[in-house]
Amino acid sequence: MSVFGGVGQTQSEFKKGLNKIFLWYGGGFAAFVVVLAILEQMGLPKNWIGYTFLAATVLLYGGIGVMSRTSDAAEYYVAGRRVPAMYNGMATSSDWMSAASFIGMAGTLYLTGYGGLAFILGWTGGYVLVALFLAPYLRKFGQFTIPDFLGARYGGNMARLIGVFAAILVSFVYVVAQIFGVGLITARLTGLSFDVGVYVGLAGILVCSFLGGMRAVTWTQVAQYLILIVAYMIPVVWLSVKHTNMPVPQVSYGYLLQKVTAQEELLLKDPKELEVRAIFKARSDAAVEKLKDVPASLAADKAAATKRVDDLKAASGPAADIKAAETALAALPKDEAAARAAYNAARTSNAARAAPPMRHAEPFPGRDEAARDISRKNFLALVFCLMVGTAALPHILMRFYTVPSVREARQSVAWSLFFISLLYFTAPALAVLVKFDVYTLLVGTPMDQLPGWIARWNIVDPSLMAVADINKDGILQLAEIRLGGDIIVLATPEIGGLPFVISGLVAAGGLAAALSTADGLLLTIANALSHDVYYKVIDPNASASRRVAISKSILVVVALAAAYVASLRMADILFLVSAAFSFAAAAFFPALVLGIFWKRANKWGASLGMVLGLGITFYYMATTHPWMYGLFHSGSLTPEILKANTWWDIAPISAGIFGVPLGFAVIIIVSLLTKEPSKEVQELIENVRFPNFDGVPSQGAAAN
């Protein structure tokens, strides 16, 4: 097929062709949305709009897969190494931005204010490390996978196999979270069930990467980037015009932030707010009382609930009240263990809602100086882990094998960060815009005049949006709203009063973000197994077409396994994603960077450094994170054990802060204690350092 790079085309002809394709594509997509908007006005039902979006986007991605199908190894693994810098930048940024960036980021910023900016800093600053330490050198090396580099640089299969293990660990955790996101979004977009959603999304992923490997994934990711960035921007720009009369939210929200800050001070002291928070405090205290003697409390609760039913019946109260009282009685915990869990949950959830709202722009809030210091330390540690982790994720680094030259690899990192920043500049703006809307327009509204989107989202998922008139004054207080982070992006079109077709577009954007990341991750896992394990270790004589065939079959197996794990709906999936960054940072970053910048690093140092770096990171999480602790220990993580296990107050999510320095130290010490690398390896390093060494350009360069 000549559409995505045929034989005998020069690079500039290829680039011109691409520009034309994606211009047509952009126009076509805009026309598609406009037609749907007109149909909506003519009365097309909402779930049909949802189906149309789902079907159209999945077919589009599948279509690109069919058009760029290939069984050539260089095309399949690295898209023929002819992706121009700008297009690789777009592909990298949609590879990078997952469901968490698209849907979760603005919500996190809304809920945690300045604290959430750790993700903005970490997930962009990491690209500086990619640009300075990795991308150009990996491109010059010019093989197929990241374990490939470890294998060649640290001679033999030991470092390669450790790399394969780490790459699969990191990527699998991450891909499960993406497929989970695909299921959720499909369910919301169309009303299909979660499991059906998972498999529909999976079909879209598979058609694409199965047929065309990296080539198909690259062009699909470019298409997905365009959808996701437009979908993200439209509602935010709309909301910005509504509140500030400016169509550039990234510039105008500074003014709104001032207003939000002023409103925060009022809400902190408002007597009605204090009243609601006091009620939550009383509920939490009551739960603490009950926990002192669980059996007695449970008996008392039962007696009270039974008495209420009897009283109502005796007085022939309204049938609805009797029914409600009976439901309350039936909902009481069955035994002591259940009651203890219920009281504990009531204590923490009510205590959380009794807390005053935090100040959005205040860095490192805390009760006293010591608490603020801990908050600052953890913020910086998290930023460090996210940055180094970004610069060590195999599915991102792999993308820099696909550009034509070292020169374009360098430019491509700049394009990547530019395209990523378009969204990351906007997410904090969106958080402030919605906060302004909630604090100034929503709070203080009479309960019977609330906007429709609140009730609608309450029905879709009460954990996303719930309001209750706690102090029975008929007016909505801020403390009476409970809101889940994901709603910020999902409900923005409705908050802004936009038609449903825009909500559909936002969901399609979320889907594009999740699918594009899942594509890249699945390919990373399948390539690590087929190229690094099968071809390099088991059967070095395998033909190129056989390797590609094996990679394709592994892809299907891994995708099905990931879908199965996602359908288990593990509760701590979000923690695992953040943990993946710490794992990647500890496992890959020291070995890759020292491999390029320090000739003396050898295979014993690198192998041991990777294992110990990963090991200590894993150990720290397993002793300080409640869910991980539960997996490896009997009994649960009590506050006392947690305190004893915690080092320097660092949260488990930032465990990489121990793993990365340990990895560096071990590689340096062990390498110095053992033999220096062979002459061939030293020549390889020199070769990697110069884009063109003695007339040897990077592999595959200037082939066109």
Binding site: Y114, L117, A131, L380, F384, R407, F690, F693
Partner: protein, 87 residues
């Protein structure tokens, strides 16, 4: 494959620019954020430390990467280690 003085000079210049840019990256990320509570003045309507973490640092990062790409691509040509015309 023999390293010449020219190669060593090229690599030395690469290390120097990498070090300088890394220092800027470190300052913007870790030093400015460390002192975030003290940098409370207003910056075009934003609290300065909030603006740095939400926008300023990102602009600096893009600048660093863009400058590095330009500097190194020129250095390649100057030292004759650039690849053949590829676009």
């Amino acid at each position: 494959m023999q390293l010449t003085a020219k190669h060593r000079e090229y690599w030395g210049k690469n290390l120097r620019i990498t070090g300088i840019l890394l220092a800027i990256w470190f300052f913007v990320t870790f030093v400015l954020v460390f002192f975030a509570r003290d940098l409370t003045f207003t910056f075009f309507g934003w609290p300065f430390s909030f603006w740095i973490a939400a926008q300023g640092a990102l602009l600096v990062y893009i600048g660093i990467i863009w400058y590095y790409a330009r500097y190194m691509n020129n250095l390649d040509k100057q030292y004759g280690v650039a690849e053949g015309e590829s676009s």
